[in-house]
Structure formats: C-alpha cells, structure tokens
Symmetry: D2
Subunit: 283 residues, 4 copies
C-alpha cells in the first residue's frame, strides 16, 4: 500500500465544499483514492473523509496545515490530518478477564492492527506472561487503598509513554474525569451489553432475568458520562431460555472480542468522526 | 400431518417426571413424536412439552384431563392440553400502519397460520378493503371522545366473537387492565424496539439520536405493565449514520413484520410456556 | 426531497477524475449531496456515483449529455445519467407462488418503491384479483403448447408497454436470450438459494440432503447464462436438522421476499453499477 | 455440575422408545436432566440424546452396556454412552495460519473446552513457542519428500498418544483414507467457505471474482470424500465490493475461528449424532 494522507473534515453544509477540497488535493499533486461524505440532515453539518496518495503531493507534513488553512477558514471547517504511515502508540488496559486482551495481542502479533502496541496495564498481575510472550511491556498497577492514586499513576504512565490511543479491554475501573479528558475520544471501551439496554453492572444477569432472546455488546468512546459515549460498533447474538447466566456470559465474551476488534480497526483506519453523542463511521 | 395432542406442563423439578409422563402416554396408546424439556436452575422449576399421536390414544378430549389428574397431583404439576386439530379463533387489532396486518393476512391466506382468523378490528377505517379482499370481517372501532368506552366495546366484541388469541399488529392504543386480564398471555404485541432499550414512544428517533448501530423489534405477551410482558421473539438489523429516522423506521417495519410472524407461529404451535416475566420457547 | 441527478460513471483509474467531476457539477450550479467511489484494484477501473441538486443547475436534460461529453472523452469514461424524479416503468412477472408478488405490491402501494408499477404478468391466472386490488393491470400469459411463443409474446407486451425494469418474482420460466438481451441488466431475479451453492432446481431439497446449517437467497441481474448474472444482494438464515424440506422452503420464502425487496430498492435508487459478473452497490 | 451420563441413540421410529428409555433410566435411579429427540421423516429413523444424573444410578461404567443391551436389541437401537466427567484426549493439527490454533489454545487455557488438550502437531515449526506458552506438547512433523510417510507418522503419533478427537485448525494437508478411517467422525475440519459453494482452493478469490455479498465458513467431520463430510456448524458474514481478497480472507478468519469453536463445543458436549452426510446437533 502506498503512503496516503487522510483528511477528516466537517463544516456547515454548503455548496462547493466537495469540489473545492477535491480541487485542492488535485492541484497539489494528490490522487484521491477514497472519498466518502455524509450530511446530517438534522443539524445541517457536512462530514467528509478524503484519502489521497502522497507520492507526488506538493506539501509535506509541516506545510499541509497552513496550506489547508484558507480553505478551512472559507468554509468554517474543522480538519484533522492523518497519515497511513503513522502507527499511533497504543495502550491496552485490562483487569482479570483475558479474552479481549488475548485477542488484541494476537491480532497485533499477526500484523492486523495499524498501531504501535506500547503497553499493557492491569490492576491485576495475571497477564504479565501473556504480554511478555507477545513482547509487549506490562505494568501492574494495583488499586490498593487509594483508587484515585492508582487512576493518577496510570494516567501519568500513559502520558509519559506518549500513548495516543487507549483500549479498555474489559478494564473494570471507572476512569476519573481527568483521565478521560486527557484522551478525548481516544479511549475505546467495550461494554458487555447492547447499550442503552442493561446499563451498569451484571448485564448478563439482567438479560437472563428479563428473558431476552438477543444479547449484545457495544464499543464506544469513553466520555465523562458513564456508558454514554459515542457508539462506534455494536453487534448481537441470539440466545434462548436454555442459556444460563454463564452461557450468556460466554456468548457475550465472543461478541465483546469481535465488536472491540472491529471498533479499533475503524478507529485506527481513521474512519471515525465524532459528532456529539454519535459517530460517523466511514468504510 | 396426523392429529396430535400437546401437553405443556411444569412442576417443581424432581425425579421421575419424564419417565412417568412418557409411560402415561405410551400405556394409553399415544406415540410421542416430540418431547422437549427445560429446567430452570434458578427457581428449580421443570418444564416440558410433549407431543403425541392420537390415532390409537385411549382417551378422548373429555376424558384426558381427569385421566391426567392423578399424575398432575402427584408431581404438583400444571398441565395445559392442546390439540393440533384446533385452530384458535384469532383477532388482529391494527391502527393506521398496514405492514404487519398485510403480512399476517397474506400468511393466513397462504395457509401458514394454524388459526381461524375471525376478525380485524381497527380504530381507523383504512383497512376495510384489505380485510375484505382476504375475506375476513372488519370492524371499525373509532376512539372518539371516550377512549375507555372504545376499549370496553372492543373487548366485548372479542369476547362475543369467542376470540382466543389477539394480535396487536401495530395497534397504537394502550389496553386497559380489564382488557389485558380478559386474555391472560393471549395477547401478542409487536414493539418497535429492542426492549428493554428505547421503551416508549418514538424509538427510532431515540435510536437515531443515540447513534446506535443496531435496531431491533420485540414480540411479547401483553401484561398490565406496559412493555414489560414476557418476550417471545426478538431480532435486530444493522444500521449506520447514513440512516435517517425514516430509514430506521422502514428497516424497523421489515423487522416488526418478521418478528411478529415468528412469535405468532411459536404461539400457535403451542410451543411457548410463560414463567413470570420470561418465556420458554420450545422448537 | 429536492430533485436530484445521479451520475453513474466508470473509467480507467487515473488522477484528477474526482476533482474534475466535482468541479463540473459545482461550476454548473449543482450541489453534490452524495458521492461515493470505488477503485477495482484488480483491473484498475474507477467507479463513482455522484448525486447533486438540480434547483440551480445550468443544464436541462437535453443539454447535460453533451455538456458532459468533453469530460467523458478526456477520461475515457462511461456515464449514465439518472434523475430522482423519474419513476421507471416496472413489470413484475410471477408464477404460482404469491409471496414475492404480494410483498412488492404492498410496498408499492405503501409508496416504498420509486417506480411506476405498470404491469403484472403471470403464466397462471391466480393473481388477477390481487393485482386488481392494488390497481395494477394484470395479464395472463399461459404457456400452452408453444413456450417460445409465450416468451415472445411476453417480451412484446413489455416492450409495447414501455417497460424499463422487469422483476422476476419467482417466475418459473427460463427467459430466451432474445428476452434477456432486450433488457440488459434491467431484469432482476430472485434465486431461492445462496448462489453459487445449489444451482438449479429444488435447492431446499438439496440443502436438506446436504444437511446445511444455513440457507440463503440471491437477487441478481439476469444474463444469458442461467444463475450466473451479477449478484445484487444475498442473505441467509440459520436452519437445523429439525427443519423439514417444507420448513426450509417457508424460511426461504421469507428470505426471498426481503432479499428481492432490498435488491430492487438498490436498483431503483440508482445505486448499482455492473462490471462483468460483479456489481458495485453504493449505499 | 454433577456428573452425568449421556445416551446418544438411534433406531427405526416405533412406538414406546421414549417411554422405555425414560423408564430404564428412572428405574435404575437416574434423573433425566435433559432429553431431546428427532425423527427423520424421510428415512424413518429416530434419534435421541438423554442426559441423566449418576449420583444414585444403579450401574457403573462396566455394567451399563450390558444393562442396556436388552432394550437396544428390542428396538434395534444403536447406543453410544458418554460421561460428562470424561475429557477426551484432543490433538490439534495446524499449518502456518495461527488464528484457529491461537483461539483454541486460549479457550482451553480459560477452561472453556471439556477436553484434555494433549498435543499440537504442525507441518511447520512456527507454533512451538505458542504451544509451550500454554503448556501443551508440540510436535513438528515436516512433510519433506515423502508426504505419505508424514501422514503415516502423524497418524501413528496420534494413535500412540491415545488421541480421541482431532481438530484440523487450518491444517493444509489432505489426510489419507487410512488416517481418516482411524478416527471415524472424530476429526473436525474448518473449511474456509460456505460449503457446498466454493469447494476447493482459494475460496476467497473465487468469492471475490463471483462478487458474492456474503461469505461463510463450515466446520464438518472429515470423511474420505474431500469437503463432503457431515456439516456440524456454519456461519456467514456480509461483504461488499469494497472488500479485497485480503479483506475477505481477514473476515473469513474471524468466521473460521468462531465456527470451529462452536462445532468443537457441540462435539465435546456429546451433542452431535451423524447420519450419513448429515448431523443432528442437539442443544
């Protein structure tokens, strides 16, 4: 794959945006290999993802923001610039349950994740060997008597390691607002439920008691409001009266693994734009 | 298909139930063609569905209940007896939206529903021609100034017609407790949502605002508590940011049609047992 | 919805196409409300669907082709122009099975299909009343002793009626090559199988004998090679050993209905491009 | 979970089987905790799975077969007896692709598989560290110049190790008829396709060229006829024109992992009966 740049942009819907952006890329020697757009009819906002080749592109990384500035100003546009060659530094936070962590480490080892997996952090010591097997540094951050101190120290650890994306792989701690604000829309959580149903603890017990015929899992960006962050990906699986709470939990684990992996792939592919409580996930 | 009887039974879990019931059927000349059982590990209740042939069976309809009585007493068993030759008298209640009504009428005309479709009732006059096309009596029951009176008159209408099953095919009225009590676990509703998410009005607008990636539909028996009745069937479909509220509603309609049809088929096949807020749906 | 035009174009992949097309639309007063593109990496072909508003557009229908000609020539581009205001004249061909026909007529009556439903043709007389109920002309075209004559007469009927799209709604006749050539990529068939599995007759019997756990349905454009036309839409449903051939057929009917409806919606929304044996289906 | 025994039986359909089996279990002190049955209407064969508690059961393992013999003879019945306490000795055969192997090892380490994982064998040396990490013996069995010798030596290895179940986790070798006959209906393969579509090599390339909208995976018992063994489990995932052959392969890998795991779970749970080319998979 040739190196590409991705523009993720949004602005009030107006005529000429698509043509002007395409013209900007083309005049500067880029070839658009993928472009996708969306207009939110409710609030009149326009969103676009434009990916173009860099081989003959006129501007390097230092220049591109200022080259784009007049265009952005003209349309009142927010622009984020990403490069396919960049591999964001990624940390995975886990607790005792291994399934999501195992899956992400395996995918990373198989070259499926476009990221630099820099760190595994856990409030339990269990997964040190697993991380070592995959050659990823592991930090045990026990909670002890002072949960706030643990939250601070993990945050500091991530900041010091230059972490750009955080994945909560069944991490059973609630992050402080300071933690969340340090990584805005950069923390992905997997919730073991089809949100907004069964918010909170023990969703599989709740699901069993309600007798639902379908259970789900939800991957979302973490915001200060618990379980209310923008949803990136969801999926479900059928269940029946035969499934005990344990069966639901096991089926749920498989679902969590696949939903989290798909959400992370979308995020790392620079295909997600956030708008309030909602996401636009381009292909 | 040969004529069969179905026993739907439940009792506290204990040894010997399966063998004793099988023996009863066999000694009396029935051949068990399907038997399925379930034990609820939480409250220790045993459930079974036993279907057997009637060709050489010793007891006719009048005798079977008393023939079963000693067995039921011994195990503390609730038994319902159903006959495959029976076609329960069915009424469909609808409002303006035609999709579920159209589908059920078509399935009934195609011979897919094991019921006697006796009546279509609507609070709007719209579907008179459709019902007539399928040869089903139609009653227009407008709400007018006195909703309670309409509820009473529809209830009376159904009772007088000897209705045994009621399907709310997007009927936009809340039934009175008296209505619900007249047909305990005999009224099936289709809720345009994946319960327990988005309870209440305008679920597709709620789903759009929350940015979910999956929408659902739920068929359930109607109880006095709105949207809390035992769930018979649920299903979902994937959606994306591209789907407007109208798109969600259209995808939801297709889902409602298929979920309601499957739930009704399970009910008419005598395959559903209700236990508190939950159902056991045998195959 | 405002009136729009849709350009469906393809050409060898090259720089500048996206920018030039966007610029053409914009300079002529159109606002692009949706654009999606795809590059086939195998044969290096570029595909795009561009939808733009017509309110302030400079060219009317007579002028647009020649206004686009220089651009098309420069890039070696095939361009098809469609207008959202156009409702293509549609004919449905059916045999005895009613399910797809009932569904399409109901959707059409509900305003879901962006087409003028001009004609229902069947080799059986059964559906005359149904068509009449929906106010659509019905023609009975029995096969009799001369199948080729029937094929010719149906073709002539469609041509004389100015039919632009043909849907085979479980029409159990094989069309002649002349018939197919008269409507290139304009005839949509629903095949009661997950192609390429179970090509040919009695797929549900084949599926049952092979013991598959999933059955499918496939909607495709009809070409001279039977069951080999470009696939527009497919879907599947789970089955088990409990399902008899009849059960598979019934589950298959529900699948056929929904797959055919989705394929037709994509086609009528001008979202399908055909490339050899494959389709590009834009959103 | 209490220790249980499972009877997997089949015989020509006839009256009295269900009652007699239930009576046998009960008279001998067993409590039936699950019973499921199926009658194949085509060839008139009856199948049943009966699971009962052993705590107060009269017969030990040595006695049960002869205790059952009169009953089996009377009905012309095949009976297999399994015990929930048994954990069959399992070998996994793999080649270069790690995904199914990684998943099965992780599930085994997490206690999800009711088996003794005795051996990982591969024709490549790659996965030695992975097996060691999970504490499972690994044997490298290179093919070299004499494929038949390798087939023989792997077979001998499995026989000597007392292996009772073999999983082909993307093992890219065709087993000899002698190998297959050594483990009749004891070898589970995952085929990277929705059989019977795309039999043979490179199914994802075939799927891409055919332009299908759905891809699948199939887990089946291995028989002498390649890709024709009884299907245990299948599943599918949606794809589109945007998916390259690589994308299809990646989506396919996730599907293979989950389909193989579900098939193995059914097999180890003693829930699968084979009848010719078909399986009955009880819950």
């Amino acid at each position: 794959m040739a190196d590409t740049a991705v523009l993720l942009l949004n602005c009030p819907d107006q005529t000429g945006v698509v043509a002007t952006v395409a013209d900007f890329v083309w005049r500067n020697g880029g070839n658009i290999i993928d472009a996708e757009q969306h207009t939110d009819d409710v609030d009149g906002e326009f969103f676009q993802r434009v990916e173009f080749t860099l081989a003959d592109f006129a501007h390097d990384r230092d220049e591109l923001p200022s080259a784009l500035a007049p265009l952005a100003e003209r349309f009142g546009m927010d622009v984020r610039i990403r490069y396919s060659a960049d591999r964001p530094r990624l940390a995975i936070l886990a607790s005792r349950a291994p399934h999501c962590l195992v899956d992400l480490l395996s995918r990373w080892s198989a070259g499926e994740l476009a990221a630099e997996l820099s760190l595994v952090v856990s409030n339990h010591p269990d997964h040190a060997d697993l991380a070592a097997f995959h050659g990823v540094p592991f930090v045990h951050a026990p909670v002890g008597d002072d949960p706030a101190a643990q939250d601070r120290s993990v945050r500091t650890l991530l900041v010091d390691a230059g972490i750009e994306r955080v994945v909560l792989a069944r991490y059973m701690r609630i992050l402080s607002p300071e933690f969340v604000d340090t990584f805005p829309n950069r923390i992905i959580n997997i919730h073991h439920s089809f949100l907004p149903a069964f918010v909170g603890a023990e969703p599989y017990r709740q699901a069993s008691e309600r007798g639902v015929k379908v259970i789900g899992a939800t991957a979302h960006y973490v915001t200060a409001e618990l379980d209310e962050g923008p949803i990136i990906e969801q999926d479900v699986t059928r269940v029946s009266h035969r499934d005990s709470v344990d069966d639901l939990a096991r089926a749920g684990r498989d679902l969590e693994v696949s939903v989290l992996a798909r959400a992370l792939r979308a995020d790392l592919g620079n295909r997600v734009l956030v708008r309030g409580r909602r996401t636009i996930v381009f292909h």
